[in-house]
Symmetry: C2
Subunit: 414 residues, 2 copies
């Protein structure tokens, strides 16, 4: 039997046992893992150095090396994160609804774990801790498939987690790491419907596309954000500039940063120069449509490709529009249904925007950068769902749960 099938079956067998563990047992285990990670920091950093050396030898670049790198500081952050997850309320067992039928049947809808979660992710080894903790807290067993470039680090982390789980009351193999990181094995994992209840990909657009394309197991899709700010003709001048600049530049590499600014022509006629100047001060490269370039001939022209692009960089596309509807149509055509904002003092325009734009998160007079589990107050984030089934937008612990109906009768037959 392959490593994949063996571990997946084990995860499936243990799911029932983990599902009935108490909140206290789960929280104790999370704290034990935190303590063990701190105690074995030296071991993990030694293993991490092997990945870093191999990465350097393979020329993977400074950016990726930084994502791969663990430090004492980062280890402390992971331990802190585990304590934070332990402190969150346990969604499992929550009674979501309850009612009685005319025939006397008492129906309750209660939250239960999903079962077995398959997690597929890229370089950062801290995701191993992060994913483990969120799955454990929600009573799900997990099968983790990290990047081959982080295999030494991930193996070390999982060893440490196992040593902590051994002294906890949870099954030791509640979390398992797949050491075979080959493409063929990933493809098989994506189709292991008899063992896995859900697959969550975490990483770049290519990874997510591959998972969605090949999975027969249900997928919680996360990721791509081609977000827009629409500056209405009734926008406050200072607020609009501040929000647009923040949404573009505060952290350009993340999915909730803004990629295109749409501007009503009347606002643009008055304030375009101020916006362009503020963006340029932050070293943002601007690609603009014809109407915008008429206001500033020095700007580069934008192509249709620009409207579609998630730059994740200090580049922004700007389109001056004639009316709100043109902005909404643009967003519907090119947006990825992630986060969209309108800046205006006109409530009617807000209402139209909120009603007609289809996206996970719609903002009025705020930066798109707030689409985030922590900013929403969820205390944890599994990712930001860009699909419409099950969970949409920032996903907290409840996104890792399902439900079951409990029906109590007194002999009812049909």
């Amino acid at each position: 039997m392959s490593e994949l099938v063996e571990k997946a079956q084990r995860a499936s067998e243990l799911a029932t046992r983990l599902a009935v563990c108490t909140t206290e047992q789960k929280n104790d285990a999370l704290k034990l893992i935190a303590a063990q990670l701190l105690e074995e920091t030296a071991f993990i950093l030694t293993e991490n150095k092997k990945d870093l050396a191999a990465g350097r030898a393979n020329g993977i670049g400074d950016h990726l090396l930084d994502r791969l790198r663990l430090t004492e500081e980062r280890m402390k952050d992971m331990a802190e994160g585990l304590h934070q997850v332990a402190d969150l309320p346990d969604p499992v067992g929550e009674i979501l609804e309850g009612w009685e039928r005319p025939n006397g049947l008492q129906i309750e809808k209660i939250r239960v774990p999903l079962g077995v979660i398959g997690m597929i992710y890229e370089a950062r080894p801290n995701v191993t801790v992060d994913a483990s903790s969120l799955c454990l807290k929600t009573g799900n067993t997990s099968l983790l498939r990290g990047s081959s470039s982080a295999l030494h680090s991930n193996k070390a982390i999982i060893d440490v987690i196992h040593r902590a789980l051994e002294i906890s009351e949870l099954p030791t193999d509640s979390v398992q790491l797949l050491e075979d990181t080959s493409r063929e094995t990933v493809t098989k994992m994506l189709q292991l419907n008899e063992c896995l209840d859900v697959i969550i990909p975490r990483g770049g657009a290519e990874l997510i596309k591959t998972v969605v394309k090949n999975a027969t197991v249900p997928v919680l899709e996360t990721g791509v954000g081609n977000c827009h700010i629409y500056i209405d003709d009734h926008a406050d001048h200072k607020m609009a500039v501040e929000i647009a600049v923040n949404a573009k530049t505060q952290r350009p590499s993340v999915c909730n940063s803004t990629e295109t600014i749409l501007i009503h022509k009347d606002w643009a006629n008055k304030h375009f120069g101020a916006l362009v100047q503020a963006l340029k001060e932050k070293n943002v490269e601007i690609r603009a449509n014809e109407k915008a370039r008429q206001l500033d001939h020095s700007l580069l022209p934008a192509s249709k490709e620009d409207w579609k692009t998630e730059y994740l960089d200090l580049i922004v596309a700007i389109r001056v529009v004639d009316r709100l509807e043109e902005a909404i149509n643009h967003i519907q055509t090119y947006g990825s249904k992630h986060s969209e904002a309108i800046i205006t003092e006109n409530e009617e325009n807000v209402a139209a925007f909120f009603k007609q734009v289809d996206a996970a998160a719609l903002y009025h007079n705020a930066s798109t950068r707030f689409t985030d589990g922590f900013e929403f107050g969820f205390g944890a984030e599994i990712g930001i769902s860009t699909q419409k089934l099950h969970a949409r937008g920032p996903m907290g612990l409840p996104a890792l749960t399902s439900m079951k109906y409990i029906i109590r009768g007194t002999g009812q037959i049909k």
Copy 2:
């Protein structure tokens, strides 16, 4: 452009328009469709006769012919069903949650339509009306792919629906039928992620398997039910027999009927004969394990294949077990996580059963036959979900919705 892509793009374009229609506009349209169906009953029955004649010529069998057949009575039922859906509360626009963040952001979570629903189903033409009405009520455009054997009937029904929608305030093409029913086109439909938000298969196990295997669009899986009744040693004798017989025989062809009866040996020692007799009176064929056959040598032996089989027929597998845990293990091994019942007067055993068995619906002292949207009081049923993401168990109108976050700020930046 193929019919599929053209209609799917149209559905996608119209989704935004349909999503903002009011409850009144949607309900009026449903009632207009009901009236139009009654008015054009003769036309639809004439078209239906063509399908029946072709079906007979192809020798499709009486059972399938019956599913294909429309009558005045069935037309009236459809019209009545449309009025019932119109009378249900509209889930769209419901505010699910609302809270304020320390930075002053006001967050609301509101229910919205899914967008475009692809429905793939088999012979019965009444599903065309059923699916259309549920999608319209929830503000979703739909692309319907029925069986080629019902194409005349489905086309006639869609023509009638379009004539009703023309005089309504909803877009006429809110509902569309795919006339190209080829396999290749279905496969393409299953992978049309840029236009479809969800695929719902309705039909037999083979259809559902094909959809799950080939779809890259998220699927709402429905269907297979290998359901169990466990008769505990503390079960009331009369109630246990009554529920077991009802769950097996009241309508054996449906997914929530029971396929295997698990019996604690102590109960079996006293009451096995009475149960067997009651089942035989209803012409149920029994396949039993060795321990059961020791109590009645006349019974056929059960194989492992029997434990796995959804008979959908007057056949039942019986297994006498030594204890509750053996019953729970059996269910976890062979069940399809649909509906499982325990008959007992022992509350501790109920608690263990409810906690340890992983299924959409768990019953205490009631028949598994109640797993149904109408019996649960939902007023409508899209199907019974056997997956754990998004919706589990009977799906009412809310299962056809998603949500979006609406965030109101006063200039917040990060």
